[in-house]
Amino acid sequence: MSTGTPIARGLLPERLIIPMDQQAGPAAVPVVEVGQRVRKGEMIGRPGGLRSAGVHASASGTIGAIREGPVPTVNGLTTSLCVHLQTDGRDEQAPSEGWPRERDARIDAICNAGIVGLGGAVFSTAEKLRDDAECDLLILNGAECEPYISCDDMLMREHPLEVVRGALAMMDLTGAESTVFAVERDKPDALRAVREAAAQLGDTRIEFARVPTVYPAGGERQLVELLTGREVPSGSYPPAAGCICQNVGTAFALDRFMRRGEPLTSRIVTVTGNGVAHPANVEVPIGTPIGDLIHFCGGYRGDVTRLILGGNMMGYALPGDDLPITKAGNCIVAAHADEIRESTGEWPCIRCGDCADVCPPRLLPQQLLRAATVRDFDQLDSLGLNDCIECGCCDIACPSQIALTERFRQAKQAWAVVSQRAAMADLATRRHRRKLARLAAQTEDIHRQQDDLIAAIGSEDSRAMIEAAVARASRRRGESDTAH
């Protein structure tokens, strides 16, 4: 529905709200002041530590304010420091710094340029590239993570050369032996485009793979299994299976940075749903309020009941449209009531097992549900609650229309609280034990001294010992007096 027209460009809102907390790691630290003029691409937040990334002005203008505000992050709606930027429409560019020669310097530059995984996880790209210990395979992820989203498809169709160049740069940086470029079956145009681009660049190292369009094939863990037959061990990331996954949008951003020195200041966002007048893929400056983006797409149409950030499987509902688009914002769905799930009662679980048939990590949602209802955490553990990727597939397949995913999310939270409490109780017990041991040692000490005293009584220097003991006691009393 949003792939019919080319990527729309030229959106420049009057005001940008640029959050410092846009990446999976720590938030960036503002390096600008209120009233300061900035040019597009100028750093306004420096990386706030390992796995963080730089944040840049997405347009030229003046810093209006720096304050805490609500930000839709990957972990839900949180508050973060935001730099408010009053744009001036002049689109002045900051001078570029050039692409360093050394690998380490390059990786640092990528971190400073604010490049993070644009598939939605916003994991630090620099960190992924740096951390290549045993990775032999680079996977270029051109499979959309959700059915509604088409921004990666459009990017591959319109900028195949940049994407492939970015991919080649990633190969060189990681030293991966081979690269697989995965594109979904139903995107023949995108596949043709990137193939031709690779041929044009004279590259023969990249292998192209068509993957089935089955949600969530774009999920890293599923993609790794699909392409290599390897599994990412429970609780870890693809590198544990020897793979690095990079999104095509990230490759595009990397190429832009390498060739033009432009840091990450915009991303492609799919705007869709029956509630938006002209669904489209839009190149959006980071920090654009969602309302401005919708306005750019012709505004709302009809009665919009839910505004969803991300796709309609894993995206979450937003309370309002005054929130900014961040680097993680791949899709906005303005949905009418008839295209979304209304929780109108559930039937009891009829044990049909349809949920298990669609569960990507092969869990048994129906058994998980039972264990979650009674909060049996041992059972939940052995049934793999924490391996649930919250993809929502089980919900959609369930004939009893049970909100399984939400129950699992809640159970995970409850479990986290319970295990935290258990850890705290454990700590307290250990502390208590240590204290008891200390007391026992002290008592023993005193006993030994008394024994010595008793043994000394009657001996020649008993008098001296008693005097010494009295002196010790009075000194101690004096100490405790001053202590009080």
Binding site: P147, R221, E225, E231, V232, P233, S234, G235, G291, Y300, V304, T305, R306, L307, I308, G310, N312, M313, M314, G315, Y316, A317, L318, P319, G320, D321, E339, I340, R341, S343, G345, W347, P348, I350, R351, C352, G353, D354, A356, P360, P361, R362, L364, Q366, Q367, L383, G384, D387, E390, G392, I396, A397, C398, P399, S400, Q401, A403, T405, E406, R409
Partner: protein
């Protein structure tokens, strides 16, 4: 603008319990037509009475358990139970037979275990078992199929209805004069009285692959079952493993002694093998839920069906086989969990 906050997923569900139940009824329709063609309107009368009784019992039990009544009545599950039961009841039955069967199914098997989703045993089969044990005579009032020349005209719709209401036939027709044993009964009786299979199967009730008429009904049941498979309402594991077990056992014994053991096709197309495989063993609530569990569960039913038919005390064993295997489901579910992605092999 303010928008509602609901947790993901937001996508529409693809199915619902009433929709699943509706498709089960659609899938049974062709076989029901064949049943009417060969054995008269009895099955429809029984289905109507059983459905009414099942819905009544369901409403009553929900009221007693203070649960909302309307959504449960509309979910179609009680209706499906009643219709499946009707397939197991002889076409000529006094009204209280389907009533007792349906009420037992809903009250005993379903609600005493906690209602929809909580029952350990298949309700329709519990209803059938209650009838078979309590009213062994009434449960043999099967009619000869159309086309088997037995010297009198088939029992008509009116006569069936009259029998359902009053328990007697017009013109002083004796029940025994019009009813007929089923092919499985005949095989069983014939073999115990030292006839060979070939002699038994030369009778007018036999023909084609199973019993006359039954082969059609069962073929259409299989068609309905394939429809359910195709619609993704059932999975292949249970029907395939159950039928495979029956076919393999029947083929082996038939090869050993064809005069005492019926052929695989006879076992498939007479009795309730196909109904059981596609519609009864696949009842989600009382079946195993993992794929490996389903294979074991289906195979277990198949083996038991063959054993009960061949060496047990009842001509057909589907109901008891299903009920026995129902009891193993909690264990199967527990010990056949698939390996989770990313966990050690």
């Amino acid at each position: 603008m303010r928008f509602e906050l609901k947790p993901p997923p937001h996508a529409l569900p693809t199915t619902s319990v009433p929709k699943v139940m509706r498709h089960v009824i659609y899938a049974l329709a062709p076989a029901a037509f064949a049943h009417v063609w060969f054995f008269g309107w009895g099955i429809c009368i029984n289905a109507l009475i059983a459905t009414a009784a099942a819905l009544g019992a369901e409403a009553l039990m929900l009221r007693v358990r203070s649960r909302p009544v309307k959504p449960a009545l509309l979910d179609g599950t009680a209706t499906v139970t009643a219709v499946l039961l009707a397939f197991a009841i002889p076409p000529l039955a006094p009204w209280w037979v389907p009533v007792i069967g349906a009420v037992s199914a809903i009250v005993l098997a379903k609600h005493l275990y906690g209602g929809l989703g909580s029952n350990l045993f298949n309700p329709a089969m519990v209803g059938y078992a209650v009838l078979l044990i309590s009213f062994p005579v009434e449960m043999t009032y099967w009619l000869p199929p159309r086309g088997a020349e037995l010297g009198h005209s088939p029992v008509g719709a009116w006569d069936s209805l009259r029998f359902a209401v009053t328990g007697s036939l017009p013109q002083a027709l004796a029940v025994d004069a019009v009813t007929q044993a089923t092919p499985l009964d005949l095989v069983r009786e014939g073999l115990t009285s030292m006839q060979t299979l070939a002699e038994v199967q030369a009778g007018p009730l036999f023909g084609g692959m199973g019993g006359r008429g039954w082969d059609w009904v069962n073929s259409l049941i299989a068609v309905g079952g394939l429809y359910l498979l195709f619609r993704g309402i059932i999975r292949w594991h249970i029907p395939v493993s159950m039928l495979a077990a029956i076919v393999v056992l029947a083929a082996v014994f038939h090869t050993i002694d064809a005069s005492r053991f019926a052929s695989a096709s006879f076992h498939l197309f007479s009795g309730a093998s196909l109904l059981g495989a596609f519609f009864i063993a696949t009842d989600p609530v009382s079946a195993a839920t993992t794929n490996r569990g389903r294979l074991i569960y289906g195979a277990g039913i198949g083996i038991l069906v063959y054993a009960i038919r061949t060496w047990g005390g009842y001509p057909d064993g589907v109901a008891f086989a299903v009920l026995l295997m129902n009891a193993t489901v909690p264990l199967l579910d527990r010990y056949t969990r698939p390996r989770i992605y990313g966990r050690p092999r």
